[in-house]
């Protein structure tokens, strides 16, 4: 290919303009804002104003703790479930494959607000269908939203329901790229299906699993709508408040842009760390 600078940039300019204005500049800008005192006009440079507050803020540690707690429980459960779904959907023995695919993949198109409203209604105390079903089989009702542990559980269940199929789609594409003859050879050697799963499927699928895990971690780290709508602004009493919700509350309720930017950059720092771990996990062994 010979150099075609003018032509190339004519095609690139519209996108690059938008990309620079609404992505690159804000990334830099929020870093700067996080070092400014933004509660008085004009904003002034005050390097420890927000970061100092962040380090001593119990609300920040609460949100960080909740976010990490959801991360370490929900993501592994969901990814394991997604692997099971993908492997079973890929089985040649499966009949009515289309129906099963629909069941697991349908949540992918459901919006956050719609499904949050449904989950809130399903888990309500007296008339929620979940409690009615528990009651009908003789179990006691659970007050899902008045206590932290069950409220957290509802959020994790909701997020898992919404995203397991999404990950299964990606994993299924990964599974289908594993050549059949690997399995044929293993079957000829009388390797059991279970051993094939652990010694062939999982190792070959590892890069895709790590990719899904990173996507899910970064998504869950920004969790906002579910605690905003399902558990009513992070209730009970901040028990399900996440970093995303803290950012919303500080930035757009208290209009404290500097502090909210510091929270945002904490999330970015975590995301960068996780991405680096991913790169390390999937590096080419030399």
């Amino acid at each position: 290919m010979r150099y075609r600078n003018a032509t190339a940039y004519r095609f690139l300019t519209p996108y690059l303009l938008i990309f620079a204005i609404f992505w690159i500049w804000p990334i830099i800008s929020s870093f700067i804002i996080s070092f400014q005192a933004t509660r008085t006009v004009p904003w002034r440079f005050a390097p420890t104003f927000n970061w100092g507050r962040l380090i001593g803020d119990p609300a920040f540690y609460n949100a960080l703790k909740n976010t990490l707690l959801i991360l370490v429980i929900q993501v592994p459960v969901m990814i394991s479930l997604a692997i099971v779904m993908a492997v079973l959907l890929n089985s040649p023995l499966l009949k009515a494959r289309g129906l099963y695919r629909f069941a697991f993949f349908a949540p992918v198109v459901v919006g956050e607000v719609a499904y949050s409203a449904v989950f809130r209604l399903m888990f309500s105390l007296d008339f929620g269908i979940v409690n009615k079903l528990l009651d009908s089989v003789g179990l006691s009702k659970i007050d899902w939203f008045s206590n932290v542990t069950p409220a957290m559980a509802v959020i994790m269940i909701a997020v898992t329901w919404r995203w397991a199929g999404y990950n299964a789609i990606i994993l299924l594409a990964g599974l289908q790229s594993i050549p059949d003859d690997v399995y044929e050879a293993a079957t000829l050697d009388r390797v059991s299906k279970l051993k094939q799963f652990f010694y062939i499927t999982l190792p070959l699928l590892k890069p895709v699993i790590v990719f899904c895990a990173v996507l899910s971690i970064i998504g869950t780290m920004q969790l906002f709508t579910e605690p905003f709508l399902i558990t009513e602004r992070g209730g009970p009493g901040g028990g399900t408040e996440t970093l995303g919700l803290l950012l919303y509350r500080q930035g757009f309720r208290s209009l404290n842009f500097g502090y909210a930017s510091a929270v945002a950059y904490t999330m970015a720092g975590l995301a960068i760390a996780i991405t680096l771990v991913q790169l390390w996990l999937t590096r080419d062994p030399k």
């Binding site: 690139l12 938008i18 804002i33 299924l172 594409a173």
Partner: protein
């Protein structure tokens, strides 16, 4: 031979015995959404277990419309999603084409920045974007505010770059020899060849815009400027609203997408799976 086919049968039965309950659990929230949307509120909030649809859907749509102008909000959502999808497909395929098909100064840098920032959380840009659009440009509560900022998406660029770079160079060289201009080659040769990829990208972008919540919630908070998810979200948690109405709204947001999903499943799955194939 018989024992082997018996073992196969046993495995097949076990497979279906495990997967069927799981599939039913997975369908349950969607099914209940439909059931709730067809029930009056005193039915939803009654001790009886109701799991079959009733016939109260249209009344619930009326109740919802009384609580908020949902039909108007749907109009905004449709208009915004269509415009956004068209513009985003155009911008990202132009950029993807340049990155796939030309050598130019700064190419490595452009690719590095797009790749390097792809895993940064969206939260990082939220506040400056809001300050810029609402204060500096004074564009809050407009369609532009909903459509333009989300156009930065970089996955689309990488997806289209991949699509164009897999096409054989001879196709385009032949046109160049005949003196066809580059933009005509892009529009009339490359784009038609990329139709399946464009369809996959368009579906994913449309869905993202249709379901987008946080940005529209922040930037278009005036009642007449809200998108459908935002309008619906304002009702969740209020005391004097019709929950049947909220569920009818959820159904109106979800069912059209489910139909699209069933009809265009192949493109849908290709679009999502593309994230994994680097």
């Amino acid at each position: 031979m018989t024992s082997r086919s018996q073992a196969r049968l046993g495995r097949s039965i076990a497979l279906h015995l495990f997967l069927t309950p799981l599939a039913l659990i997975w369908l349950f929230p969607l099914w209940m959404m439909v059931v709730f949307s067809t029930m009056p509120d005193n039915g939803i909030f009654s001790p009886a277990i109701e799991m079959l649809p009733h016939d109260y859907f249209l009344e619930n749509v009326n109740n919802l419309q009384r609580d908020t102008n949902f039909i108007g909000a749907i109009g905004i959502s449709v208009g915004v999603a269509v415009t956004y999808t068209f513009l985003s497909v155009l911008l990202t395929s132009m950029a993807g084409w340049a990155l796939a098909r030309y050598e130019f100064i700064g190419k490595g840098g452009v690719v590095a920045i797009i790749f390097g920032t792809i895993t940064l959380p969206y939260a990082v840009v939220l506040i400056p974007q809001f300050i810029m659009v609402a204060r500096d440009f004074a564009l809050a509560n407009t369609w532009i505010a909903l459509i333009v900022p989300p156009l930065f998406n970089s996955l689309g660029v990488l997806f289209m770059r991949q699509a164009f770079s897999m096409m054989p160079a001879e196709l385009f060289d032949a046109a160049r020899v005949e003196g066809v201009k580059e933009w005509r080659i892009f529009l009339f040769v490359a784009l038609p060849l990329a139709r399946p990829m464009l369809a996959a990208l368009a579906i994913i972008l449309f869905l993202a815009s249709w379901n987008n919540y946080l940005w529209p919630l922040l930037i278009n908070s005036q009642p007449g400027a809200m998108t459908a998810p935002v309008a619906l979200g304002t009702l969740v948690g209020l005391t004097k609203v019709s929950w049947g109405g909220i569920m009818a709204g959820a159904v109106m947001l979800t069912v059209p997408m489910l139909v699209v999903f069933v009809l265009l499943q192949r493109h849908f799955i290709a679009g999502i799976a593309a994230g994994a194939v680097k």
